[in-house]
Every structure is written in C-alpha cells, then in structure tokens.
Amino acid sequence: MIRWHTILPLVQKDLRLYFGNRFYAFITALSLAAVIIAYALMPDTVDETFRLAMYAPGVPSSVLAAMEAEEEGLEIVRAGTEQDLSALVLAEEAVAGLAVPPSLGDPAAEPTITLYLLSSTETEMRDMLRVLTRGIAITLSGAAPDLAVSSEILGADRGGNQIPTRDRMRPLFAVLVVMLEVLGTASLLTEEIESGTIRAILTTPLSTRELYVAKGATGLILSFTQGAIVMACVGGLSHQPLLMLLTLAEAALLVTAVGFLISASTRDMLSTMGVGMVALILLSIPPFGVLFPGLISGWGRALPSHYVASAVHELANLGGGWAQVRAPLAILLGYDIVLGGLGILVTQRRFQ
C-alpha cells in the first residue's frame, strides 16, 4: 500500500530543488524554446517537383501541359526566349532550363537540346537533370521503348501530399525532450546516494517502493510536462490529444524506470551521467527512423523509444487513432513495467 502523504513532501522538495536552481531552470526553458523555434523556422512544405524552365517554340502548349499532367514530378515554366530561360535559371526560379529546338522528332535534323544549369549544381543533380532531359525528349519525340509496366504503390500513396520534414521531426522532438530527463531522473536518486541521505530516508517508515514512487513522480512530472509543452507548440496535440498525452505519460514512465535503473547500478554522479548519456544516445536513435525512413531496420524495434516514436508519428503525422497505437502503447507499457520492476529490485538489493 502506497502512503501518499509520506511521498508528497519528497516530491515537493525535489521539484523545489530543481526549479530553485536557476541554471537548470534556464537550460530547461532554453532547450524547450530552441526546439519550438527550430520547428517554427523549418519549412512547412515539401518540394516534390523538378521546376524546369522551357523554351520550346516548336512544341504546342497543350503537349507540354499533357506531359506535366502525366509526369507529376515535373513543373514547367515556359520562357519566351532563350535569354529569358537562362535568366530564370540564374534567378533560381527553375532548377534547370531546357531550350528545345523546333526540329525535335526529326532524326535527320540531329536536334540538340541545350540544358542550362547553374555552375553550383552538384554533380549528381547534373546527371539527374540530363537523365530527365532525355526522358522529356523521349516523351516529346514519341520514341519510347515498348515496355508493359505494371505499377504497385506500397503503403499509403503520399505523392503530392508529403509530410513536411518538420512534422517528421515531431517524434524526434518528443523523444529527445522526454528522454533528456533520463539524466535528471537518474541524478535525483544518485544525489541521495552520494550524499548518503538515501540510507537516512530508508530508515524512516518510507519503503523502497515509496521512495521509488516519490522520485518517479518527480521525474514523471518533469519529463511529461516538457513533452506535453513541446507537443502542444509543434501541433502534436491537434489530433487525438488524449492518446498523445497517454503516449507521453508512458514515455515519461519509461524515462523514470531507465533513470532509476542507471542510478541504482552506478557508483557516483559521474558514472551515472556517463551511463545516462549512453542510454540517451541509444534511446534517441529510433525517431531518426521516422525522419529518414529505411534508415533503421528490425533491430530498432528492440529499443523501447521505437514505440514512443512510432505512436507519436502515427498520431501526429498519419492521423492514426487507438487502433493504430494500441500495439505500440501496450509494448511500451510492458517495457515500463519490466524496467520499473528491475529498478525497484536493484535499489532494494543495494540498500536493504
């Protein structure tokens, strides 16, 4: 049975100490502000097309319009003269300019397309634009090879409706802000261990479990509140806010459990911070899988923060609901219980 009246003073003391330290309070506010400002400054759109300037006096506008409609990744800006074409490229209003001769389609005339590029265009992009130019020439001349292409889209088709990078970063923001408290939570217990007050506390009627709950509540409040503030500011609470808050609460529980496990198994503050940094780096890996799909294969699922990132991505970016997040949340809860239990066990074995 947990006696809350004995736990509350300990929680209040820890919170007072945390916010009483102007440095910690400053850094906490600064890091939250940095995340929110970074999100606000990042572009909210995805550049999905090649914007090409084209001077093609012999090609009817309808043909170009049809090609644009066929190839969704192309956006064509017509130029009146070849000078206009190069001006558009120099002004960076188009990634490249194509001057298409009227004789296109007449092999006897040996037509030449002039491709205008900025000299700062990277080598790979130059190759890509030459490939694209050739593809356009093939389409306009009707010389395409005889291929029977069957196409299958895997996953939801987001062509033309991509998730902006800043929104893809929401899981990263959530995980980083919440998981950063691993260090804070671990230090809560390590401070008591280093100063020797933990033994004094445990000689009072407070049990190890209650101490764990008290310290856990402090860690939970700190990490959950910060996660919720950031998610509210980056639009993460605009869809299914309760499920998002539940996800953040489970993430905060995970942080508390990992923090205590580290604290109970290390000697002093220095080793706590060292191991904490390693844990923080490991836990920060999975959200990069959302930011750069395909980066992390199956092994990423072994890290509990994968399920935080996955649930946040599902709720904040893909419009998912309970059906989509119940599995990751259940697994995350499992991690919370197992790691939390281990934390209590290790603390008990060490001090009793």
């Binding site: 097309t49 037509p111 590029l117 000299s119 080598t123 593809g135 939801a156 799909p293």
Partner: protein, 355 residues
C-alpha cells in the same frame, strides 16, 4: 616554472580527468558528429532517389545488363536484390523509392523489339520527382540497352561561376570547430572550475606548484586533446590536405588559442553552472564562422569579424582547397596575434588569487 611539476599535473589530469564527463564529451561528440555527417550527407541528406532491382533471370543464367547500367549512374542510390520478398520489404519500409522486377529473359525480348513486362514497386511516401527521375532513367537505359537511337543530343551550358558546394563541405567547418573547441576550451575551463568548487585549487597552489604552472598544465591538456581530436577528424575525413605539416601546425595554433580561451573562462567563472551558461552565450560567437560557411548566402566578410574565423579559415584552405603558405599567411598572422593577446590575458590572470 617547473616542467617536472607541470608534467606531473598533466599526467594526473589525463589519468583522472579523462573519466570526467567533459573530457568524454570532447572525444565522443566530434566523432559522433563526424559519423552523423557521413551518414546523412553520404546517403540520406544527399536526397538521391533510391532504386532496387531484382533480376529474375539471374538465377537461370539469363542475367540482364540493365542492373549494371543502372548501378553505374551517380545520380541514384542503387541496390541489387536476389529475392522479391526482400525487395518488397525495403520498398515498404522506405529504404527504396522504387523497386524494379525484371522478368527472366528481359534483354532478349527487348532486343527482339517485343513488348517487355516490367513490375515496378513504388514506396507510397517517395517524392514525385524521384518517381519521375527514376522512370526517365530506366526508360533511357532501356533505350541504350536495345540500341534505340536517342532522339536528341543534349548540350549542357553552365551559368555563373560558383562551384558546387556539397553539404559535406558545408558542414565540415562545424565539425572542425567542435573538435578543436570542445577539447581545447571546455576541458581546461571545466577542470579549473571543478578544482575551485572542490576547493582543491587552493590546496594545489599551497604546494610548491604555482598558479601559473597549474594553468599551463591544464591548458596543455586541453590543447593536446584539441590537437589530437582535430587531427583524428581531419584524417578520418581524408582532409589533411597536400601539406599535412602545414595543416598540423595550423591545428596546433588553433588548439593553443582554444585552450587559452578555456583558461580565461576557467579563471573568471566561479561555478560549473555559470560556466555552462557563459559557454552557451559565447557559443554562437565562437561557432559563427562555421555558420557562415554553412550558409553561402551569408556574405563571407561577416565571418571575418569573429576571431575564430582565423583559426578555421586557414585549416579549411589548406585541407580542402590545397592552399599553400602564401595564400594563408595573412590570416595566420592575425591568428598568431590573437593567440599572443589571449596568452597575455592568461599571464595577467595567473597573477590573481587562484581561489
């Protein structure tokens, strides 16, 4: 000033200080940053379309020439697959923008001018421009394979005179700065502040050791760590340049300035919390030249307003652009002057009460 006492303190700093968080961060962060840049710029951030090909004829000895042609293109990332499940899985999870399944004997049917079946798997979240580019690439390579004449010649005209500036090059200055400044500035500053907080600095200077010797020892540890990390980062990125001796000398000078800045901070700041706060405030000034390199749209002269520019620019000029002594002498002279000035400040501070 006793070299023996300084060396003894340096030995102690390396033996015990190397377990300190700041020391570990000074070593780990530049390496991690280097790894992240290599990963992001080498693959993901480069933003190249990713194509995977499964040649069903390969197992039956009817290997298509198309995969090899596609693999040779530098504008895409290419992977070859041996089974459809793996290809499908990678497209599904976004490791590929597009997967291509070539039927057995595809080359033969193409060469006979017959209609050839081709299965295309598209990742739903792939960018439209990547789909367009990959389709154009495959169509073009098929035309070349079957000997269909290209309908046009393409002549490229380059406008402007700015060379390409890949992201790897833009981020490199930041990497060099973090390698030199983290070890050089943070380690001696944190070590001094910790000694002050633990009240061991006064104890140390009541021994025959003078405060100046303490500063020299801590500064030497910071400078040597900074030099080692700078060299590791340059070697790791293949950027020692054509004159490695000159580059090493420049890193050494930069490390010295960095350590002097760390000592000044360490002497003036009273506790670790204030040190972090000051460094956060100064950070933007120290790293400003690297930010100017990162965004070419910022006028280059702005970078010259910051003293650390003269630490960074000569290193980049020799390591990346093959510059010689004649090209960088002016900047190095300014760096040397700033280093001497910082040294004078440290010498003046060494006369203060250490605690």
């Amino acid at each position: 000033m006793s070299a023996r006492r300084i060396l003894a303190l340096m030995g102690r700093e390396y033996a015990h200080g190397s377990r300190e968080l700041m020391f570990i961060m000074a070593v780990v962060i530049p390496l991690l940053f280097s790894l992240v840049i290599a990963l992001l710029v080498g693959t993901l951030a480069a933003g190249l379309p990713r194509l995977g090909v499964l040649d069903l004829g390969a197992a039956a000895g009817e290997r298509s020439a198309l995969p090899a042609r596609l693999a040779a293109r530098e504008s895409i990332e290419f992977r070859s697959y041996a089974d459809e499940q793996a290809l499908r899985g990678d497209v599904q999870r976004g490791a590929l923008d597009m997967g291509l399944v070539l039927a057995s004997g595809a080359d033969a049917t193409l060469l006979q001018g017959q209609e050839t079946a081709m299965q295309v798997l598209v990742w739903g979240e792939s960018l439209l421009k990547h789909r367009t580019a990959l389709s154009a690439l495959v169509a073009g390579e098929v035309m070349d394979l079957v000997g269909l004449e290209s309908p046009v010649r393409i002549e490229t005209v380059l406008l402007g005179d700015e060379p390409p500036l890949p992201w790897g090059t833009r981020l490199f200055p930041m990497l060099v700065m973090s390698a030199i400044l983290l070890g050089g500035t943070m380690v001696p500053a944190a070590a001094l502040v910790q000694e002050k907080q633990a009240r061991t600095l006064r104890a140390l200077t009541t021994t025959p050791m003078t405060f100046a010797e303490v500063l020299v020892a801590k500064g030497a540890v910071g400078a040597s760590l900074s030099l080692i990390m700078g060299v590791i980062i340059l070697i790791g990125n293949g950027a020692l340049g054509s004159q490695p001796g000159l580059t090493l000398g420049l890193i050494a000078l930069g490390s010295l300035l960095s350590a002097e800045l760390g000592l000044i901070l360490g002497v003036l700041v009273g506790d670790i919390s204030t040190l972090f706060t000051v460094i956060k405030g100064l950070g933007i000034l120290l790293y400003a030249p690297a930010l100017v390199y990162l965004f070419p749209s910022i006028p280059a002269w702005i970078g010259r307003l910051f003293p650390t520019y003269y630490m960074l620019a000569p290193i980049l000029d020799t390591s990346l652009h093959g510059a010689g002594w004649g090209d960088i002498a002016g900047d190095v002279a300014i760096l040397a002057a700033v280093t001497v000035l910082a040294g004078v400040v440290v010498a003046l501070l060494a006369r203060r009460d250490p605690a």
